[in-house]
């Protein structure tokens, strides 16, 4: 309908959507164009990779590697997408991943083996999400501030728990999940978790009342409230969801790196926000797709992979990454506005 038929003018968060909750048909129409343009960017990258390093890039192992490296940040981004769509922001995701990973890898937790580590990671994630949610939904704090405070304190706590030391995981059942023996039909377990989280995220957003409420709150919170949605409870759930995703991501990171360190999840908040924005999520809320965000993550990971395969140094990588973010968003907006 109206506000989706015309292209959005401002992705910087200044202009929230108009008064009405969005209409699904319009949203999908937009999502399709955006998704296609993102797929185009990804295809172009794959072409670059295939041309520059055909043997190394177009290799099953490399595909497994790219998807594995996308998994941890991918799971975080799914949660972040929900939060941004509701008009909020979660700056604490990286710090929560750090805290959950170090808490789950303390000697005490490792004594309980696989279950102990998994449960601790998820519970810490949920706990942080609960605090964020309560502060924002019921404490009336601005999401930016509340999650900034969480960022600081969760990192601090993570540093306190580890005392700056790297906590090495000794539980074999956890470590083995990162090895090639654990692949099922060539798919690494981490990638499976990422896929499951993505599918569930997509279903929840597009096929449930919860998803519709999220979009409604992000589009116009006051209208949503008048429509009978418990906006505060919805917000609480959304930050809980983000925290849960961080807990899962922390567990994946533990499998991947075989350790817990207080520097884990460094700058995840920016990567996840960037991926969501590239994926077409409106920073002011009300619009976005899980598919877009996941494609955003894959684009980032593929770029990094191509850079590393071509042995580009990190300064070049950073410059090119910035340029590609701008290019991707410009291409996307151009495509969106011509439809």
């Amino acid at each position: 309908m109206t506000q989706h038929a015309s292209p959005p003018r401002d992705d910087t968060g200044k202009v929230p959507s108009a008064g009405q909750p969005p209409v699904w048909r319009g949203l999908f129409a937009h999502a399709d164009v955006r998704t296609l343009s993102l797929l185009g960017v990804l295809a172009a990258l794959i072409l670059v990779g295939g041309i520059t390093k055909p043997d190394e890039f177009l290799d099953t192992r490399n595909l497994q590697l790219v998807l594995t490296q996308a998994s941890v940040i991918g799971v975080v981004t799914v949660g972040m997408t929900f939060v941004i769509m509701s008009g909020g922001i979660d700056l604490s995701v990286g710090a929560i991943v750090a805290l959950a990973s170090v808490w789950a890898t303390t000697v005490a937790t490792q004594e309980y083996g696989f279950g102990g580590i998994l449960l601790t990671a998820v519970l810490v994630g949920l706990g942080c999400g609960l605090v964020n949610g309560l502060l924002i939904a019921y404490g009336g704090m601005v999401p930016f501030i509340a999650t900034l405070a969480m960022l600081a304190s969760a990192r601090g706590l993570a540093l306190q728990i580890t005392d700056g030391k790297t906590q090495i995981v000794t539980v074999d059942s956890v470590l083995d999940l990162g090895l090639r023996d654990a692949y099922v039909l060539g798919i690494p377990p981490l990638v499976m978790v990422f896929a499951v989280v993505t599918v569930i995220g997509w279903l929840v957003l597009n096929r449930t009342t919860f998803g519709r409420r999220t979009v409604a709150v992000g589009g116009n919170a006051e209208a949503a409230r008048l429509a009978g949605i418990d906006v505060r409870r919805q917000r609480l759930y959304l930050y809980l969801l983000s925290g849960l995703c961080c807990g899962i991501a922390a567990f994946l990171l533990i499998i991947l790196s075989g350790s817990g360190q207080n520097t884990n999840g460094n700058l995840y908040e920016l990567d996840a926000i960037a991926a969501a924005i590239i994926g077409g999520t409106l920073l002011s809320g009300g619009r976005g797709t899980i598919t877009g965000s996941v494609l955003g993550v894959l684009i980032f990971t593929t770029i990094t992979n191509i850079f590393a395969l071509n042995n580009l140094q990190s300064d070049v990588q950073q410059i090119a990454k910035g340029a590609i973010i701008v290019a991707a968003v410009l291409v996307q907006r151009r495509t969106a506005s011509t439809t």
Partner: protein
């Protein structure tokens, strides 16, 4: 704590003469049985004038920096005549300047400063010196020699040099040998120095060529991610030098995940986990090049000597030296036992 181990003074002296090996060996902080082979007469280690040492360092968010703090604290505890005033670590330049100014105002006798950024903290170093408080500049060096009385730190260039020479020797006789480098944080000067040393060493071995270099971020996570990429990019190579043992935990994990064992790896810094892997000798990690955190303990020794107007035992001079560069010894299976106690977690 009055009865002090009598050998410390001589170790202290030996350290000053630069034997990195001895230095590294002498700071098994919780026992007196230093493994260092040293039987020279003890220098002045008797309790003297009470000295208050102010210690300001960066945030210990990394294994090596944490070990720096531990080394300083434990060494200070061993002296009955030393009081250590330690500030909360910070990577924020303004905050660290504030902390050092507080220590100046408290009129500590000597300052030991490991700046988060040496250049940015030069002014406050000068300020302390002008206030009559001698400064021991630890590791990251100030811009001006006027800002410190004595500098003690590691040898980043030498680290790369020794790693390169070790690898070169191991690959001697192998034609067209391929080497890759997993560097640390590229925006730190020390990373550039390590790489320079490494490249210079490889020039001694015309049969060895560096085919790839990627920078990680000194973290386990980045080490895993970058190494996984490097392994995919380079289907065959003979040796890997990784700048830092902390990120090496991640690098080793990536190597394990890729199922590769067709090369030898040399680490850097001297983490306990690296020492243990070298001793076990069942993986690719064959050696690590030291960047000893024990320099913090030596800095306390120097600060104490400075506060008590003493020289360094074993040296002819009346004063402590103006600068001391530690040696980046290569630790491999043959000597790992000697260094085990200095490994940091």
């Amino acid at each position: 704590m009055t009865q002090l181990p009598t050998r410390r003074g001589l170790l202290f002296g030996a350290a000053a003469v630069s034997a990195g090996a001895v230095l590294a060996g002498c700071t098994s902080n919780d026992s007196d049985d230093e493994p260092a082979a040293n039987d020279q007469p003890a220098a002045d280690d008797k309790p003297g004038k009470a000295v208050t040492i102010g210690f300001a360092g960066p945030q210990a968010d990394h294994g090596w920096l944490n070990a720096i703090n531990d080394n300083a604290k434990n060494r200070a505890k061993k002296y009955s005549d030393v009081t250590l005033e330690i500030t909360e670590g910070s990577n924020d330049t303004a905050a660290q300047i504030g902390q050092i100014e507080t220590l100046i105002n408290k009129k500590v006798d000597v300052l030991v400063i490991l700046p988060a950024d040496g250049k940015a903290l030069t002014q406050v170093g000068l300020k302390a010196m002008r206030a009559g408080i001698p400064v021991i500049n630890l590791d990251r060096i100030f811009n001006s020699p006027q800002a410190y009385r004595c500098w003690i730190g590691g040898d980043n260039y030498g680290m790369g040099l020794n790693a390169g020479n070790y690898i070169g020797e191991k690959l001697k006789g192998k034609s067209d040998a391929r080497v890759i480098e997993l560097a640390g944080l590229d925006n730190l000067e020390l990373t550039q120095q390590r790489t320079k040393g490494f490249d210079d060493a490889l020039k001694n071995y015309p049969n060895v060529k560096k085919v790839a270099r990627q920078a990680a971020e000194f973290t386990v996570e980045s080490g895993q991610a970058k190494m996984a990429q490097l392994l995919q990019a380079q289907s065959n190579f003979d040796a890997l030098w990784n700048h830092d043992d902390d990120q090496g935990v991640g690098a080793l994990r990536a190597i394990e995940q890729a199922g590769r064992d067709d090369f030898l790896m040399v680490g850097g810094a001297g983490a306990l986990s690296a020492f243990q892997a070298i001793k076990k000798d069942d993986g690719v990690l064959k050696a690590t090049v030291l960047y000893p955190p024990t320099m913090a303990a030596s800095a306390i020794d120097l600060a104490r000597a400075l506060g008590q107007s003493k020289g360094v035992g074993g040296l002819a001079e009346f004063e402590i030296p103006a600068s001391i560069t530690l040696y980046s010894a290569v630790v491999d299976k043959t000597n790992v036992d000697q260094y085990m106690s200095t490994g940091f977690k």
